[in-house]
Structure formats: C-alpha cells, structure tokens
C-alpha cells in the first residue's frame, strides 16, 4: 500500500467515518473556541458567555440524544473512531447525554446565582465545558493512553473549577488538595498503563481483551494484574471510592456548590464507563498460577470497595455540619451503590447490572444536581451553606423545600423517585449475580447486598437531617429573604421533575439502558 493510499484511507476514515459520530464532542470544542474568541474580540459584551455556553452544551446534549435515538432505532452498533483510539458505543453516547445535560443545567444555574462575574465568565465556562469534553472522551476511550489523557482532560479543568473563588482561602486549599491527589492518581494510572502495554505489547482495550481471553499469556500475568489494579485505583479516585475518597469532602467544601454539583456527577458517570471497560477487558476465568486477575476476583475486589464506600460515606455524612461536605460523603456512598452494578457484571457477567448502573446514574445526576442547586440558591439567599442555614427555609420558600425533599427521598432510595428504581435495579442484579455466579462470588454478592440494605437505613438519618432542618426547625434568618429567581425555580423544578419522572415512567429510560448494554427485552 502506498503512502498516498494510506493517507486517502485515513482521510476517508476520519472525515466520513469518525467525525460525524464525534459530533457531540465537536460541538463542545467549538463552544470553547467561541468562548475564548469572544473574550478576545469583545463580542462577549454583546452575547454573554453564559448564553454561549448554554447554547453550546444544550446543542451537544441534543446531538447526543439524536445519536442515541438513531442507535436505539437501528439496534446496537459500536463504531471505532480515529483508527481505534476512541469508539462510539451505545453506553458512551448515553453517558455523553448525561454529561452534556449536567453541563447545561449547571450553566443555567450559575447564570443566576452570579458565581462568575462578567470578567471571568468565559474562563469559568471554558473550564466547565472542558470537564464535559473530558467526560465525553473518557466515556468513549478505547485505548489505555486515551483513557489516561481523557481522565486528565476532565480532571485539570476540575481543579480550576474548585479553586475558582480566588479570594477564598478554603477554595485555594481545596484546589491544591484536589490537584495533589489527582496528580498522584494520574501517575498511578500511567504506571499501570505502562505495565500492561509493556507486558502485552498493546494498549488497545479490545486487543488486550483478546490476548487475555485467549489464555496464552506466557508470563507476566502478575504484571498485568498490577497494571489493572493501578488503573482501578485511578478510576476509583475519580469515583471517590473508599479508600481513594479523601479529596472529595475538602474539594466539595471549597468549591462553589454549582461546580461541586457538576463535579460530583459528570466525571463520575464517565469514570464508571472506564471501570466497565476494564471488566470487559479481563478474562472470565484465568488459568490457575498465571497470576492474572479474572472478572470474578475483580468483582470481589470491587464489592469490597463498594461496601466500604457506602458504609464510610454514610457514617461520614452523618456528622457533617456543612451541606457540601455532607453531600460529598453522600456521593461517596452513592459511588458505592452504583458500583454494585459493576460488581454484578464482573461477578456473574450479568449485563442487567450495567443497565441498572446506567439507570441509577441518570437518576443520580438529577438528584445530586437538584440538591446542590438547592445549596447554591440557599447560599445566594442566606450566605450560609451549613445545615443550620437551611433551618426553616422549607416553609418560607416552598420550591426549595420541595426540591430538597424530593431529591433527598430519592437519595434515600424511596419511591416514587428514580433513586428507588435505580437502587432496586442494581440490588436485583447483585442478588441475581449471587444466585447465578460461582460459589466463590455468592457470599461477596449477598454480603454486599446486605451491607447495601443496612446502609439504605443508615442513609435515612443523613438525608432526613436536611429535610428536618428545612421543615422542623424554626427559621431565624433575616426577615426579608430575597426572591428565588425564576430561572432558579426552573432549574429546581427541572431536577425535581427528572427525579420523579425516572421513578414513575420507567419504561422509556429502562428500554434505552437495557438496549445500551445489550440486554434483550421481551
């Protein structure tokens, strides 16, 4: 094949094959460029950066929804992009929708809570969209190098978002802490990648999967296992799974609530895709003595992380006075619940668990964004972000109270909310994995289920504290609270509607998640 032919083929592959499927990312990139150019040319005086960012993220979300729709209509199709560095998968597109929607929601909210002023607006939205872009790439990474690069892409702007309030010492401290932890995690991931690539001679997830499944690994199974563990540590850092969670309470406390809310959903959901890809890469049954970790054993490891996260998250949340710290611990425990879906998949190859994971993710995005939005609005109204700051707010501002109650109920996992349906889906998958899996995984799966059950009850105390403060405690703030801005009301109602809708009209979304992971529905 001559060079010209190769180039022609590459151009064809890129222009006709990859770029159309890469459209959601392209829209985000274009928006970022537009924001930066607007700053230079001064056209951001005409159209505010918030508007540009909102239109951009909403368009990206719309494009991704259209892709999802097309995939749903045409059946499951995974297409490799850019000669196999990325791939356009059903699950990936689903996560892109969530990430872009979360970005649009956050932009909408920050437009009224006045977080970035006119001067630093473009910076703020550039960083926000940078995280979104990173999350989108992470969700479609098909190559270990790409995984590392994409996770960096979504982390680095995140550090800036956390430290965005320049004057606040807490903010700076949080950003530094996050940065140090994050760099450590990236280093670990890179090391893991080099171990795997060095042993197997490839870093493409598909190829690694083929090599490992063939069971012909001559030596170096232990090195590959170590590599997988290092990668898992990096992903667990992004998911804030115990014991890689230390950064998140500090980072969330220092970050403005809007940014913390966004960072607690978009990167997490994307990181789950990587975790699932790691499981898919591993063999279901490794030969004894090869030193290679197989999926059931990886599942047991994840079960341990999951159980530890939900328990420590709940216990930690219970003693917090600061709402954002409380929610940080809450998101640690929810990372544990969400991981149950991956555990079920790893332990027994149960793809229903992944469907539950996707469903729960959607509900989780709505619930967390909603509750962080409540915190953001309360901060604007009362200047406080602690549990005491919301005392008595529920009766004063019914919208805030209602949104907080519905989101809290969803996080506890009670119907009729999406949190309940998501929880029941991952619980069911974990139970089934224990039932159908090998004898070795059964106690892990059922033990995890029991632990999750206990934690559901513990969670009651965590989330009811917010509800209780809002309704049962007397209001002692200023007599004239500012009005809740109509856009804020819209945001809160949007989150609320999403939480309830995912809990009542379940079938439309569950059909998509089932199809995305390849579970046939009767």
């Amino acid at each position: 094949m001559s060079l010209a032919e190769m180039l022609a083929r590459l151009a064809d592959d890129t222009l006709r094959g990859s770029l159309p499927l890469f459209l959601p990312e392209l829209v985000v990139v274009a928006t970022i460029v537009l924001l930066l150019l607007g700053r230079v040319s001064g056209f951001d005086r005409l159209i505010g950066p918030a508007v540009v960012a909102l239109v951009g993220s909403a368009t990206a979300c719309g494009v991704a929804v259209m892709q999802l729709d097309a995939m749903f209509a045409a059946g499951r199709t995974d297409a490799p992009l850019f000669s196999g560095l990325l791939s356009c998968t059903y699950v990936g597109v689903y996560v892109k929708v969530l990430a872009a929607a979360a970005a649009a929601f956050t932009v909408l909210l920050t437009g009224t809570t006045k977080l970035p002023d006119r001067e630093d607006g473009p910076d703020y939205y550039t960083m926000l969209l940078g995280v979104t872009l990173g999350a989108m790439l992470t969700a479609s990474a098909e190559h270990l190098l790409m995984v590392v690069v994409a996770i960096e892409m979504m982390s680095v702007p995140g550090y800036v978002l956390v430290g965005f309030q320049k004057g606040r010492a807490k903010s700076g401290e949080a950003a530094l802490k996050y940065l140090v932890f994050g760099s450590g995690a990236s280093g670990t991931m890179l090391y893991g990648t080099s171990l795997i690539a060095g042993t197997l001679g490839t870093a493409s997830l598909d190829e690694i999967g083929v090599v490992l499944a063939a069971g012909t690994l001559p030596a170096g199974g232990t090195a590959v296992s170590l590599g997988v563990l290092f990668l898992t540590a990096g992903v667990a850092f992004k998911l804030s799974l115990v014991p890689f969670h230390f950064w998140s309470p500090d980072a969330y406390e220092g970050a403005p609530a809007e940014a913390a809310g966004f960072l607690s959903v978009a990167p997490k959901v994307a990181a789950f895709v990587v975790l699932v890809r790691l499981v898919e890469m591993l063999p279901a049954d490794a030969a004894a003595g090869s030193g290679l970790i197989d999926t059931p054993r990886f599942g047991m490891l994840l079960a341990g992380l999951s159980a530890a996260s939900m328990t420590l998250g709940n216990l930690g949340a219970f003693f917090q006075r600061d709402l954002k710290r409380l929610l940080a611990y809450s998101s640690i425990s929810h990372a544990g619940y969400l991981t149950m879906g991956v555990v079920a998949f790893a332990c027994a190859g149960d793809r229903q668990g992944l469907s539950g994971l996707l469903y729960y993710s959607a509900a989780y995005v709505a619930m967390n964004l909603g509750l962080f939005a409540v915190v953001a609005v309360v901060r604007r109204l009362t200047r406080g972000e602690s549990v005491d700051a919301v005392a008595g707010i529920g009766t004063r501002k019914p919208v805030l109270g209602l949104a907080a109650v519905v989101c809290a109920v969803g996080l506890i996992g009670l119907p009729p909310t999406g949190g309940f349906i998501g929880k029941i889906a991952v619980f069911a998958a974990t139970y089934a994995a224990g039932l159908n899996g090998s004898a070795a995984v059964t106690p892990w799966c059922w033990g995890l289920l029991a632990c999750a059950g206990v934690n559901t009850v513990l969670g009651l105390f965590v989330y009811l504290r917010i509800v209780k403060a809002m309704y049962f405690e007397p209001y002692d703030g200023p007599a004239d609270l500012p009005r809740v801005h109509p856009v804020e009301v819209g945001c809160l109602l949007l989150a609320l509607a999403a939480v309830v809708a995912t809990g009542v009209t379940i079938a439309p979304l569950s059909a998509v998640t089932d199809a995305a992971v390849g579970v046939s529905t009767p």
Binding site: T395, Y431, G453, V457, L460, K468
Partner: protein, 534 residues
C-alpha cells in the same frame, strides 16, 4: 367507566386533590378544608357506590380476584400496573375510605399550616388505598413506601412535645421492614425467572409458584424460609407485634388525633394484610417452618400489650398498647396452621377471625383514639389519675365512650367479640396452651378497659386542671363517635358481611398454602427417587 379507570380514580383521586390544593390560597382554610373533605367523601362514595356493586356483580377470575387491571408499566423488567380486589382487600379498602373520611372530619382542629397538613393527609390516603388494591409486588411496595413520608411529616410537624423523636422512630422502624421486604421482593423476582414471559413481580403468578401450581419453577425451601422470615419481620413491625412494637406507643401518643386514628385504623392493618397477601401465599414452606414463632409472638403480644396497658396512666398510651394486644389476635389467627394435619378448617376459622379482627379493631381503635382526642382538646392532658366523673359532666361523651370501650373489650354483640373469640377458639387444635394464654388475654383486656372506664368516666368528680373546659361534644364530634358506635353494634350483631366476603379469599389462601407444602413434599420425594434410579 372501565375497571382500570375506576380503581385508578379511587386510588389517585386524593393525590390529584392534593395537587389541586397547592393552587389554593393558604389563608383560606375553610375552602381548602371543604375541598379536602369533599375528596375523602367522594372516595367513600366511589367505593360504596361503584366499586362495591361492581365487585359483587363480577365473578372472580382464576386467581380469585375481581376488577382486575393488568396494564404494562415496565414490561422489560416484569413490572406491571396490576390492580384487583378479593375478599381480603375489599373490606380493608372500604375501611380505609371510611376511616380516612372520619379522620378528615376530625381534622377540624388543625389550624397550623392547614394547607400542608391536608396535602400530606391526602397523599397518605392514596398510599393506603393503593396498598390494598395493588396486585404487583413492586407496585405494592411503592404504595407502602408512599405512606412513609407523609406520615413522617404528619407526626413530626403536627404532633405533641416529642414529635420529632416519634416521627423518626416510626420512619426508621418501617424503613428497616421495607428494606427487608425489598430484598424478599428481589428474591421472588429472581426466583420466578423460569415462568413464561420471564421474571415478574405479578403477585398472582408468584402465588401460583408458591403454591406449587407452576411445574417449571419453585422457590426452594431455603429461599422460602429466609424470605418468610424477612417478610415476617417487615410486617410484624407494621402490625406491630412484640418485640417490634416500640415505635407504636411513641408514634400514637405524639401524633395528632386524626393521624392516630389513621395509624391505628388503617396502617396497622397493612401489616396483617401483607402477611396474608404476600408472606403466606408466596412462601408457604417458610410459613410452615415458622408457624410456632408466629403463633407465640401473637400470644406474647396479646399478653404483653395487655399487661403494659394495665400499667398506663396516660390515656392515649393505654389505647396504643391495647392496639398491640388486639393485633396479637390477628397474628394468632393467621398463624395457627399445622401443615401436618391436612384439614385446614381450624386455620380458616382463625384466619377469618383475624380478618374480622382487623376490621373490628379498625372500628374500635379509631373510635377510642377519637375519644382521647375529644378529651385532650378540652383539658389538654391525658393523665387518667386526674380524671373521673366524666359521665356526669359529659353524659353523652361518657356513654359513647363506654360503648366503644366495651366493643374493644370484646363484649358479645359488639364488633370486638368475633375477632377475639374466633382466633382463640381455633387455636385449640394448634396448641391448647396458646388458647389458654390467649384467653387469659381476654380477661386482662377486660381488666385494663374497665380500670380505665372506672378512672375516667366513673368516680365522684374530675380533679385535673381546666375542669371548666369540659363542655359537651360538638355536633360533628357526636356524629363521628355515633357512626363508630353504630358500626360497632352493626358488625357485632351481624358479622356476616365480613365473613361472607372474606371467607372465599381465606379458603383460597389456606388451600394454596396447604397445596404448596404438599407439592413440595411430592417433588422432594420424586427428586429423591430420581437420584436413586440414576
């Protein structure tokens, strides 16, 4: 109107009204209250005017249900919008409608944040009605949980001095039960994956599996024991039975009067209903295994509740513990099953008695909590040591009270009688000792009831504070107490409506459970033979 539309309307009318109330002006209490009152009345009207005649006109389907609704909800996961009624749920559904209306009527004294109160009240009613008509395990669970949050707020915001403690305790206990039920639900779901159409939450299908009528699928003995044990705890918490009852005195005492009426009148019955609708039909092997536990917990509840009631000085606490004791009869009646004896006549009698006791206790406890409320509204305390002579000060109140107390006591001719005597009589063939002890409970009941009557209504005069506030009952108070008293007399003299309706359902549940145990035995033998031949 189709059955689907009718049942959905009954269930969701209160919730829709709650939504409509949001649009009302919070200051216009009268209008909101009239609207809410009208809603609960409309539910009663729909229940007696449309649902009851239609139920009587239809013949049951093969699973024994009428007005069956089966619409897809989440077809991929085997979840359906399935509703239906049988002889077990119909009486409880009607009771719920009536008690809700009476409680709404009794809510006239709620002046704090009336709008929020009524919204939560109506949401609670939707949860209760839904629990009794749901024929899908997941749907039942959803309605079961929907009751929690409104109840939490109703106790926690409108309750007495220790309301927050009582509210969180209620929520916590029930949530523990719910989580156990959730796990059982997943066990049943995963266990049913072999039926045609895949794993399902459909209760009639799951019942068919439990009773061994499906050839391809069965719940193994181990699964059944675990599942039944977990469900038992879940529903014993709700019922409540010793040792899971400690939330009840706190919740009852702190809750405002109408909420206490609902708690005692309807919510406790969800526990008994859950045992009869889910635990026994789905997991008969587990039920057979734990038969002794159920019966003896029932006996202990009867005696313990009665003894503790005997020692109370707080009027409302006394009524609360009497509920524990009375619900013990329900548990006793449900539990007396000896699978070894193929004849289920005694069990049927006990279970009929249990269903009747749920209705009877629904009537009397609602009445008693209302009467406590009437007195508390006037003198603002409930200490029985400071009372006395009320029969002379408020003769009509005293008379109705004594009547309702006697009904609760189980005097023949009043509605408490049948529910106590049937389980106790039927228990003989299960265990004479249980019968003897449960019968002792009847005497203790008479003891604490008469002791209370003596301290409150008889005696020379009222010696507590605010004696001048002891004014006669208002017209609506008279109506509510009068209606309760009438129902107590009617069902005491003529209990047949309940027995006639519940009888077939009870016969079915007992026969199914017996078949389930026998089929499991046959299959076990067949499997052993199979292995032997190989």
């Amino acid at each position: 109107m189709t059955d689907a539309a009718l049942l959905s309307l009954v269930v969701f009318l209160p919730a829709l009204s709650a939504g409509a109330i949001v649009a009302f002006d919070g200051e216009n209490r009268g209008a909101i209250r009239r609207f809410a009152n009208l809603t609960t009345l409309a539910v009663v009207g729909l229940l007696f005017g449309l649902v009851l005649p239609r139920y009587l006109a239809q013949s049951p389907d093969e699973a024994g249900y009428r007005l069956v609704v089966d619409l897809p909800w989440v077809p991929g996961w085997g979840i359906g919008y399935r509703l239906g009624l049988d002889g077990l749920s119909l009486p409880l559904l009607l009771l719920t409608g009536v008690v809700s209306h009476l409680a709404m009527w009794a809510s006239a004294g709620i002046t704090k944040q009336t709008k929020g109160y009524l919204i939560l009240f109506l949401l609670l009613e939707t949860g209760m009605l839904g629990s009794f008509v749901a024929l899908d395990f997941l749907l039942f669970y959803v309605f079961f949980e929907v009751m929690l949050l409104p109840m939490y707020f109703l106790i926690g915001l409108w309750g007495g001095p220790r309301k927050e403690y009582a509210a969180i305790k209620f929520f916590l206990y029930t949530l523990v039960g719910s989580v156990l039920m959730l796990i059982v639900m997943l066990m049943a779901y995963a266990g049913s994956s072999g039926v045609a159409g895949g794993a399902t939450f459909d209760l009639p299908t799951l019942t068919a599996i439990g009773s061994g009528r499906v050839d391809t699928v069965e719940f193994s003995g181990k699964v059944q024991c675990w599942a039944f044990a977990m469900l038992l705890i879940a529903f014993l918490i709700k019922l409540p039975a010793v040792p899971f009852h400690t939330w009840l005195p706190d919740a009852h005492v702190e809750a405002p009067t109408p909420v206490s009426m609902i708690l005692a009148g309807v919510l406790l019955k969800v526990g008994g209903y859950g045992l009869l609708r889910i635990a026994y039909p789905l997991f008969p092997l587990g039920a057979a295994y734990f038969a002794d536990v159920v019966v003896w917990l029932g006996v202990v509840s009867i005696l313990y509740g009665a003894f503790v009631a005997l020692a109370q000085t707080d009027f409302k606490r006394l009524v609360a513990y009497s509920s524990v004791s009375h619900m013990g009869y329900v548990l006793l009646g449900i539990g007396i099953w000896s699978p070894a004896a193929a004849d289920t006549a005694a069990w049927q009698m006990g279970m009929n008695g249990a269903v009747f006791q749920m209705i009877g206790h629904g009537i009397t406890s609602v009445g008693m909590f209302f009467l406590v409320g009437v007195l508390y509204d006037r003198v603002k305390h409930r200490d029985m040591r400071e009372m006395g002579g009320l029969l002379t000060v408020m003769p009509r109140y005293g008379g109705l009270s004594i009547g309702i107390f006697f009904a609760a006591m189980g005097l023949p001719g009043l509605c408490g009688f049948w529910g106590e005597v049937f389980p106790v009589l039927a228990a003989w063939s299960f265990s004479p000792w249980a019968t003897v002890l449960a019968a002792t409970g009847v005497i203790l009941t008479a003891g604490y009831m008469l002791f209370a009557v003596q301290r409150i209504y008889l005696g020379p005069r009222y010696i507590g504070p605010r004696g001048e506030q002891l004014v006669p009952m208002t017209a609506s108070e008279k109506w509510i107490a009068g209606l309760v008293m009438t129902a107590a007399v009617v069902f005491g003299v003529y209990p047949r409506p309940v027995f006639d309706v519940a009888g077939p359902a009870v016969a079915r549940i007992t026969a199914d459970a017996q078949t389930g145990v026998e089929t499991a035995e046959v299959r076990k033998v067949a499997r052993a033979e199979n292995e032997a031949t190989q």
